[in-house]
């Protein structure tokens, strides 16, 4: 990685600040920071390792990532990726029974979690240096000799069914789920497990799934901590050197297309708030317009108190505690959505206010001051991507996993610096697809301050039965 410099041209160095100076006028030199550079190496079977040596504390963090994840699930077996990841951790490995793994890890305080992300699987471990051998031995057994104990399999499936039966308990969960189901439709991003899909999953499915994804030539590791590079290389070779290559290449499914009908999607729940989210599909994480779009969204509703949605709906009108907009730049198709939780009888008032703000931004853009605040915040805050060794090494490894060049963080920074007001306002016009809005409302219609059909031309009632 090349040298990072946090340079922003408007910053003027002033010294000898006076006591009476207003904080808004305090200026600081750009931060001159060269983050440590992780080492990258590969071993014969294809494992890519990023390592950041750090001897401040006698600890290690180890993550293993695999292309795959929940986007690989199919509708009839939705949930398979999650079950596989969970059972990998709880189903025993090598000579150890499930209980033995738990007790060996817990005895020395090693934390080891296995999970399925959207486009990858992850196993994350943290441990004290003195327990390196125990940790790597178990991690290696898990990745190369998992058992998938059938009684644990039964328990995981049965717990998953119970979780699905509880999926309408929390209004925030409902809002999130219904929004993604709506805008992504049948695309894997919109897929959620059902009682039926979980019942379709067999132990053989889990084993096949494991064999397909958890392979050394599909693996990127991010490791930090109290070891030398040579020590780590021999540790990796000792525990993972015999792991056989698969020659399976994992591809992501096709990007999401809009299949939903714009309109209002009503999910009924007996609560005293209206919990709503509205948005549309937009660009992927590789679109060069994303930098300007991110800056624009910061001013619109992504920048907390410094954004228009928070400023007007919360600070000025007192209508909500949580309100804003979020730009989720995903590899297979992102989305931008506004969200708000407000007292049920303030629904239409809040919604109209938010729609007016987003329309104003689309039509007339943001201001130069707003753009500069957003850019400065993003650029000055960049250092926090690197403030711990594990944070830094994982961020770099994730770049390769996501198909970005290793200097992308630096490039991102340059791209943010290069954003202009014209560009922000151009992307606002281009991508804020207001006639494609899907509006999801969770709450109780009879408490709202307006009938649903006054809020949208098309109203769809979301079925809440659990199947």
């Amino acid at each position: 990685m090349r040298t990072f410099k946090f340079i922003f041209v408007f910053i003027v160095l002033l010294s000898g600040l006076s006591f009476a100076q207003h904080p808004r006028d305090m200026k600081f030199a750009p931060l001159d920071f060269n983050p440590p550079e992780p080492v990258r190496f590969e071993i014969d079977n294809g494992i890519v390792v990023y390592f950041l040596e750090d001897h401040q504390l006698p600890v290690m963090t180890v993550s293993a990532y695999f292309h795959g994840g929940t986007v690989q699930d199919t509708k009839d077996k939705a949930g398979l990726s999650n079950i596989t990841a969970t059972l990998l951790r709880s189903g025993g490995a090598g000579p150890r029974t499930p209980d033995k793994i738990d007790s060996d890890l817990d005895f020395v305080g090693i934390s080891l979690n296995s999970s399925a992300g959207d486009e990858y699987f992850a196993v994350n471990m943290r441990l004290l240096k003195k327990d390196t051998d125990t940790g790597f031995e178990i991690l290696s057994d898990m990745l190369t000799k998992p058992v998938f104990d059938s009684s644990k399999m039964e328990l995981e499936l049965s717990n998953k069914l119970d979780e699905i039966k509880r999926q309408n308990d929390d209004p925030r969960d409902i809002g999130r789920r219904v929004y993604y189901q709506t805008v992504y439709g049948d695309h894997p991003y919109g897929l959620y497990p059902t009682l039926q899909s979980i019942n379709n999953i067999s132990r053989d499915d889990v084993i096949d799934w494991f064999k397909k994804f958890y392979n050394p030539d599909n693996c990127i590791m991010a490791i930090s901590g109290d070891m030398t590079v040579d020590e780590l290389k021999s540790t990796i070779n000792k525990y993972f050197g015999d792991w056989k290559k698969s020659n399976i290449k994992i591809e992501n499914p096709a990007p999401a297309q809009q299949t939903y009908k714009p309109g209002l999607y009503y999910a009924e729940k007996n609560i005293n708030q209206a919990n709503f989210r509205f948005g549309f599909l937009c660009m992927t994480d590789k679109n060069p317009d994303r930098f300007a779009f991110e800056v624009m969204n910061f001013a619109l509703g992504g920048g907390g108190f410094s954004s228009r949605l928070m400023q007007q709906v919360r600070t000025a009108a007192g209508l909500a505690y949580s309100v804003g907009s979020y730009f989720y730049a995903r590899p297979l198709g992102g989305t931008l959505f506004g969200y708000c939780l407000t007292k049920a009888d303030q629904l239409s008032q809040s919604l109209k206010m938010m729609m007016a703000i987003i329309t104003e931004v689309k039509e007339n853009g943001i201001t130069k001051d707003e753009m500069e605040l957003a850019k400065e915040s993003i650029i000055n805050g960049y250092v926090f991507s690197y403030d711990t060794p594990s944070g830094l090494v994982n961020a770099i490894a994730m770049l390769e996993l996501g198909g970005f060049p290793s200097d992308q963080l630096q490039k991102d920074l340059e791209q943010y610096q290069a954003v202009t007001l014209e560009k922000c306002n151009e992307v606002a016009k281009k991508y804020l697809d207001l006639d494609k809005i899907a509006l999801v409302i969770v709450g109780s219609e009879k408490e709202f301050d307006a009938p649903l059909d006054s809020l949208s031309k098309a109203v769809f009632k979301v079925p809440m039965e659990i199947k």
């Binding site: 600081f28 817990d106 005895f107 979780e163 509880r166 108190f305 505690y321």
Partner: protein, 514 residues
């Protein structure tokens, strides 16, 4: 504000953190430096150079437990108002703003009085009700127009914008029961900005946009408690568990938020946001000398008043099991609470070990029994309330939360929990299990220092709660000294039927209670 001469007595103590057995013989890189200003304010500093950033963490030694009936919610609303800036940040004309606020407050006082009259007018002069309600409505319009007038002098969210512009991370605050915390992480060359901003709001706060923020706090309650089944159940558990102590109020009641005044906040601020009741920790890429200089410059002139009003109430002994049912549109769950000790009790470290024994990880007693072996529950969580890292200023509770699997009753889950507690009071924990817990304590003490925020948080809270940050590391020694016999004794003393409260979530079936 009166200027105090800056001849602060600076006590700098270099103290090597005590948790070195895990890597005996190796150099511990984080000494803690302590500064005490003349006015009583304590600043703790740890210099760490891994990245050019730092965390600033401020504790005020009072939270919601210090509110009085009639102004419940003050500590929380005050925490929100501290983000509104100060007499200099967030305003274009503080004089004009202040004048309008005084008018707002007097209009609110009339609204409040009129609101209280309404019930008597309804009862005794119903013919005048309409006129009376119109009067209230008119006053509310006046209040709105005053708020609008003052807003022309307000620079909205300027306090936030300044930090945001400089790349702030972890910028937030939280209201606890004993302590209220304010924290932010910044690039390290913004150290002076941090001192300027924080001292500004702590010396000259300005409670602008007051009445709107009351509504925001109401909405926060709706979102966090009223529409969240676990919080709702917990609120009832705590209210039932405490008869007398102010810990009984988990979250301010809606009716109290709506009647808070600026004077309530000012009184609380004057009483508790004083130098001797504030603690600061600065951890990261900073120099102690520089922090010392800036602390004197920006906080040295705070008046050394000490008018702390303590809580005298003690929770009376519980005389028998208490139970409460909560009907809600959600699946079944059970919450159980046992009264325990305060931070300074010799039993406190034993409780912390018991908490780990029953609730920490997949091999903990309750997870193993309820989730893995008997397969009665989906999950089981063990925590303390209020749950400070050093314990709490007053005796709190140990609480257990569990969601039963379908077809399992909460009574079955309860029975399985009590069975485990029975074992704790009759059988001694074996050495392997105790060693496991102690290994985890060791590991956690090391991980606690992994980032600036974690260390700053622990140091500030410990100093504020116990008046000596070294207790953070003394506690480690006390935890490692806990014996199997201690566990049996403390479990026997506290984990009894008479000392427990049980809250059960009873699902509302569709069609009921509509």
């Amino acid at each position: 504000m009166k200027q105090i001469k800056l001849t602060a007595l600076i006590v700098i103590t270099c103290f090597v953190l005590l948790f070195c057995t895990a890597w005996a013989g190796e150099k511990q890189p984080f000494p803690v430096n302590e500064i005490k200003l003349d006015n009583g304010l304590i600043v703790l500093i740890v210099e760490r150079t891994n990245a050019p950033v730092f965390t600033g963490y401020i504790c005020a030694g009072a939270g919601s437990a210090y509110e009085k009936i009639g102004n419940i919610g003050t500590a929380h609303l005050l925490e929100h108002m501290m983000f509104k800036g100060s007499e200099t940040v967030g305003t274009s004309n503080i004089g004009a703003e202040t004048e309008l606020w005084i008018k707002e407050d007097s209009v609110w006082a009339r609204i409040d009085k009129a609101n209280r009259l309404t019930r008597y007018i309804k009862m005794n002069q119903p013919e005048k009700l309409e006129e009376h309600l119109k009067y209230i409505e008119d006053l509310n319009s006046i209040l709105d127009s005053l708020a609008k007038a003052s807003s022309q002098y307000t620079i909205p969210n300027e306090f936030d914008q300044i930090y945001t512009r400089h790349g702030a991370a972890q910028f937030n605050a939280w209201t606890g029961y004993d302590i209220t915390s304010y924290h932010v992480s910044l690039p390290s060359n913004r150290l002076e900005l941090w001192f300027k901003m924080e001292s500004d709001r702590l010396k000259k706060p300005a409670f602008r946009e007051f009445f709107t923020e009351r509504d925001v706090v109401s909405e926060e309650r709706r979102q966090s408690v009223e529409n969240n089944s676990e919080s709702k159940l917990f609120e009832q558990l705590i209210a039932t568990s405490f008869l007398a102590h102010p810990y009984q109020i988990y979250w301010e009641w809606q009716s109290e938020i709506n009647n808070l005044t600026r004077q309530d906040l000012q009184r609380f601020f004057d009483t508790y946001y004083t130098p001797s009741n504030l603690t600061i920790a600065v951890v990261g890429d900073v120099k102690t000398d520089e922090v010392k200089k800036l602390a004197e410059k920006y906080f040295g002139d705070m008046s050394p008043v000490d008018n702390f009003e303590p809580i005298y109430t003690e929770e009376p002994e519980q005389l028998g099991e208490r139970r409460v049912n909560v009907s809600f549109d959600s699946s079944p769950a059970v919450y159980i609470a046992y009264h325990k000790t305060a931070f300074d009790s010799p039993d406190e470290p034993v409780f912390k070990v018991i908490g780990r024994l029953i609730g920490d990880g997949r091999t903990s007693r309750l997870y193993k029994s309820l989730v893995l072996d008997k397969q009665l529950s989906l999950n089981v969580d063990v925590a303390f309330f209020p749950g400070g890292i050093m314990g709490d200023r007053h005796a709190g509770v140990l609480n257990i939360y569990s969601e039963p699997k379908e077809g399992v009753s909460t009574a079955d889950v309860e029975a399985a929990i009590y069975e485990e507690f029975e074992k704790l009071t009759t059988e001694l924990v074996d050495e392997t299990e105790l060693t496991k817990i102690k290994n985890n304590i060791d590991a956690d003490y090391i991980w606690a220092t992994y980032n600036n925020f974690g260390l700053a948080y622990r140091l500030a809270i410990t100093q504020n709660m116990t008046r000596d940050w070294r207790n953070l590391f003394k506690l480690r020694e006390q935890l490692l000294a806990v014996t199997a016999e201690d566990i049996r004794r403390v479990a026997g003393k506290y984990l009894s039927e008479n000392n427990r409260t049980v809250a059960t979530l009873v699902p509302i079936k569709k069609g009921e209670d509509q």
